[in-house]
C-alpha cells in the first residue's frame, strides 16, 4: 500500500503540506467509518486506500462493518436498484427485514466516533444511536430519480444526520440538513492506474492476441445494457468505414447477473464476423485493465446511465483522448472539447472518434488537458482533503471558516 510521501512526485509537496495542515485541525477527534462490507465494491475499495492514508496523516480513523444476512442484503440490493430509478417490487416484509437487521446492528455496534461516517443505505438506521457526536451520511448512489417509496423511507433517517454527501450535483435533493458535493477519486498508485513498463503492456496485448498495427478503440465496462456495448460496436463500425481500426470491449465476468450473460452473448454474436473486435472477459485484473487502457488510442465510455464513471478518470489520467456520454458524473470529468468529447448518440460517438483519429494533435491535447483535470480534481489526495474539510465543517456552520 502506497505511503503518503509517494504521492509527492505526482501532486507536489505543497498539496501534501495542505493535507498535514488540515489533519492538525482534527487532532483529538476519532473518525469512525461504517459500511456494509470490508471487501468488494467501490466503497470498500476506496476505504481500503483512504483509511490507512488518513491514519498516516495523523487523523485517528477507524472502520467498522455492520452485520447482515442474505435476506438483508437481498433487500438492500432492491433498495439500491430502486434508488437508481429501476422498477422494483418492494413489500412490507422487505421493510421489516431491513428494520430487524438494522435493530440488531443498533444493539451490536458501538458508535464511539466523534464523527460517525455512514456509507450508503445499508447502515443508515444506525443514526438512531446519535448522541452528542456528529453524524454524516455518504450516498455513493445516483439518486437523481429515486423511487419515491424508498427515498421517503430513507428520508426519515437522513434528516437525523448532521450532513449528507453526494457525488454529483444532479444527485442532490432539497434536504433540511447540509449536503456537500464530494466526487469520488482514483488512486494514481494503484495497480489500475500506476505507470507500467512497455513490456508489461506488450505482454498483455500478446496474451489476448491483439496487434498494435491499427488504432485501438477501447471500452472498459462490465457487460451491461446501461454501458451500451452494442452501441459501441455500431459506432466503431461507422468509424471503420473510413479508418481501419480495432475495438476492445473488456469487462468483468457477469456470473451473478443473468442479464449480463445475455448481453455478453448478444455482443459476441454481433462481433463474431469481425476479427478486429476483441471481446475480453477480465476477472478483476487491474494490471491488465491498466495495460489495455495504455495501449489504446481512444477510450470510449458510451454509457446510457452512469453513477460517476471513474473509468473515464482512469483513462484521462493516462492522457488518453476520451469519447463519453454526457450522463451521470461524466460531464464533471470532461469539459466538452477541452478535456475530451461528450456525445449523446451512436452517431455522435462515431463522429467524435473519427475526429480524434484524423486529428492526432487535437486528440493528444485533449488527453493532456484531461490528465491535468484529473490531477487537479479527481485523485485520492483531493478526496482526502475534501473528507477532512467535511469533518471540520461539522464544527463550523459558516460559509467562510477562518482557522487562523
Amino acid at each position: 500500500m502506497a505511503k503518503i510521501e509517494e504521492y509527492i512526485p505526482l501532486v507536489g509537496q505543497s498539496v501534501i503540506d495542505d493535507l498535514s495542515l488540515l489533519s492538525e485541525r482534527l487532532k483529538g477527534k476519532v473518525i469512525q467509518h461504517i459500511n456494509s462490507t470490508p471487501v468488494g465494491g467501490g466503497v470498500a475499495e476506496i476505504l481500503n486506500r483512504m483509511v490507512p492514508l488518513l491514519r498516516e496523516l495523523g487523523v485517528d480513523t477507524k472502520w467498522d462493518v455492520i452485520k447482515g444476512g442474505e435476506q438483508f442484503f437481498a433487500v438492500t440490493k432492491k433498495f439500491h436498484n430502486a434508488l437508481h430509478g429501476r422498477a422494483e417490487e418492494i413489500t412490507s416484509r422487505d421493510f421489516e427485514v431491513f428494520m430487524e437487521t438494522s435493530q440488531q446492528n443498533v444493539e451490536g455496534i458501538d458508535t464511539y466516533g466523534d464523527v460517525v461516517f455512514i456509507h450508503d443505505p445499508q447502515p443508515i438506521a444506525l443514526v438512531k444511536k446519535k448522541s452528542a457526536n456528529k453524524w454524516l451520511w455518504r450516498c455513493h448512489i445516483d439518486v437523481s430519480n429515486p423511487n419515491d417509496k424508498i427515498w421517503g423511507f430513507l428520508m426519515d433517517f437522513i434528516v437525523q444526520y448532521d450532513s449528507a454527501v453526494f457525488s454529483a450535483p444532479a444527485f442532490s435533493q432539497k434536504l433540511p440538513i447540509r449536503q456537500f458535493l464530494i466526487s469520488p477519486s482514483i488512486d494514481p498508485l494503484s495497480d489500475k492506474n500506476k505507470e507500467l513498463p512497455q513490456e508489461t503492456i506488450a505482454s498483455v496485448l500478446r496474451k489476448y492476441d491483439i496487434k498494435k498495427d491499427k488504432p485501438i478503440i477501447t471500452q472498459i465496462s462490465r457487460f451491461d445494457r446501461l454501458k451500451d456495448p452494442l452501441g459501441v460496436i455500431e459506432a466503431y463500425l461507422r468509424v471503420k468505414k473510413y479508418t481501419d481500426c480495432q475495438l476492445i470491449l473488456a469487462g468483468g465476468t457477469a456470473e451473478d447477473d443473468p442479464e449480463g450473460s445475455k448481453v455478453l452473448e448478444e455482443v459476441q454474436e454481433r462481433a463474431k464476423n469481425d476479427p478486429d473486435i476483441h471481446i475480453l472477459l477480465l476477472s478483476q485484473n487491474d494490471i491488465e485493465i491498466n495495460a489495455l487502457q495504455r495501449a489504446s488510442d481512444i477510450i470510449i465510455q458510451k454509457s446510457i446511465r452512469e453513477g460517476f464513471g471513474l473509468t473515464v478518470a482512469e483513462a484521462l489520467w493516462k492522457a488518453k483522448p476520451v469519447v463519453a456520454s454526457n450522463v451521470g458524473g461524466i460531464p464533471l470529468q470532461i469539459k466538452h472539447k477541452y478535456s475530451g468529447l461528450l456525445c449523446h448518440s451512436v452517431g455522435g460517438a462515431s463522429f467524435a472518434m473519427k475526429q480524434l483519429l484524423n486529428s492526432p494533435e487535437y486528440a493528444k491535447k485533449l488527453g493532456e488537458n484531461g490528465r491535468e483535470h484529473i490531477k487537479n480534481n479527481f485523485l485520492i489526495t483531493r478526496h482526502l482533503r475534501d473528507y477532512m474539510l467535511l469533518f471540520l465543517s461539522l464544527y463550523h456552520p459558516e460559509d467562510i471558516v477562518r482557522l487562523c
Binding site: S172, K174, L175, R178, Q179, I182, N376, V401, R402, L403
Partner: protein
C-alpha cells in the same frame, strides 16, 4: 543588486481550501435561473463565478463563469452567454454588486428577446446551484522581503495564490489584492503594488498569473 528592503510587518501566506455545498436548487429556464440568482446566498454567486478558475487552472482562460457556460452551451443563447462572459468582474468590489450586474444582464436580455423565456434545458442538464464554503488556514511561510516573497511564490500552492488575489478582494471585501496591499503598506513600493494590482487576473490561468507576478517582482529585485 541593491539592498533589499525589509518589511516591519511580514507577509504571512495563507491558503484557502474549499468545499462545495449543494443547495438542491436547480433551474431549467432562464426565468428560473434569474429568480434564483436574485435569492441564493452570495456564496453561490461566488462559487459559480470563480469555480472555473480553480478547477481548470491549466486551460486557456475561458469560459469564466458557470452562468455564461450554461446559457450558451445548454440553452443555446450565445449572445447572452457573451454578455455574461464579458462582465468585468474586476470592476465589482463585492459579491452583492456582481450579483446585481449578472441579474440585470439577464433581465435586459429577456426584455429584448422574450422568446428566450421559452427555452428549456434537457433533463439532466439543469443548472444546479452550489455554494462555496471556504476554509482559510495559515501556512508555514512568513516572509519579510521581496526576495523571500518571490521564492515562496514560486512554490506555494495555487490555492494560496488564489486566496490572496481573488478571495481576499472580492469575498473578504479588501480594497486590493493582499500582495499589492503588503508591498505598498509594508514595503512602501507603491509602483510595484500598482503594477500587480492592475492585472486582470480573470483573463489568466492561475499558473500564468503566478509566472507574471514572479517575473515582475524578480525584475524589481534586480533594478
Amino acid at each position: 543588486m541593491k539592498n533589499i528592503a525589509k518589511a516591519q510587518e511580514p507577509f504571512k501566506f495563507c491558503t484557502r481550501l474549499h468545499l462545495s455545498e449543494l443547495t438542491g436548487l436547480r433551474a431549467t429556464t432562464l426565468g428560473q435561473l434569474l429568480d434564483l440568482i436574485k435569492e441564493v446566498p452570495g456564496s453561490c454567486i461566488y462559487h459559480h463565478t470563480h469555480r472555473f478558475l480553480q478547477q481548470h487552472q491549466y486551460l486557456s482562460p475561458e469560459p469564466p463563469n458557470d452562468f455564461a457556460y450554461w446559457v450558451a452551451d445548454i440553452l443555446g443563447e450565445d449572445e447572452l452567454g457573451e454578455r455574461l462572459v464579458s462582465i468585468d468582474t474586476m470592476q465589482y468590489s463585492t459579491i452583492r454588486d456582481l450579483r446585481v450586474k449578472i441579474a440585470s444582464t439577464i433581465e435586459d436580455y429577456l426584455n429584448d428577446n422574450p422568446l428566450a423565456k421559452m427555452r428549456f434545458a434537457r433533463s439532466g442538464e439543469e443548472f444546479h446551484f452550489i455554494k462555496s464554503v471556504s476554509f482559510i488556514l495559515p501556512t508555514a511561510y512568513v516572509v519579510y522581503d521581496l526576495k523571500e516573497f518571490v521564492e515562496v511564490l514560486k512554490k506555494i500552492t495555487i490555492d494560496s495564490i488564489y486566496f490572496h488575489i481573488f478571495e481576499a478582494r472580492l469575498r473578504l471585501e479588501k480594497p486590493t489584492n493582499d500582495f499589492s496591499f503588503w508591498i505598498e503598506h509594508s514595503l512602501g513600493d507603491k509602483e510595484l503594488a500598482y503594477e500587480i494590482s492592475r492585472f486582470d487576473p480573470y483573463t489568466s490561468t492561475l499558473e500564468d498569473l503566478r509566472k507574471k507576478i514572479v517575473q515582475i517582482i524578480a525584475r524589481r529585485i534586480v533594478q
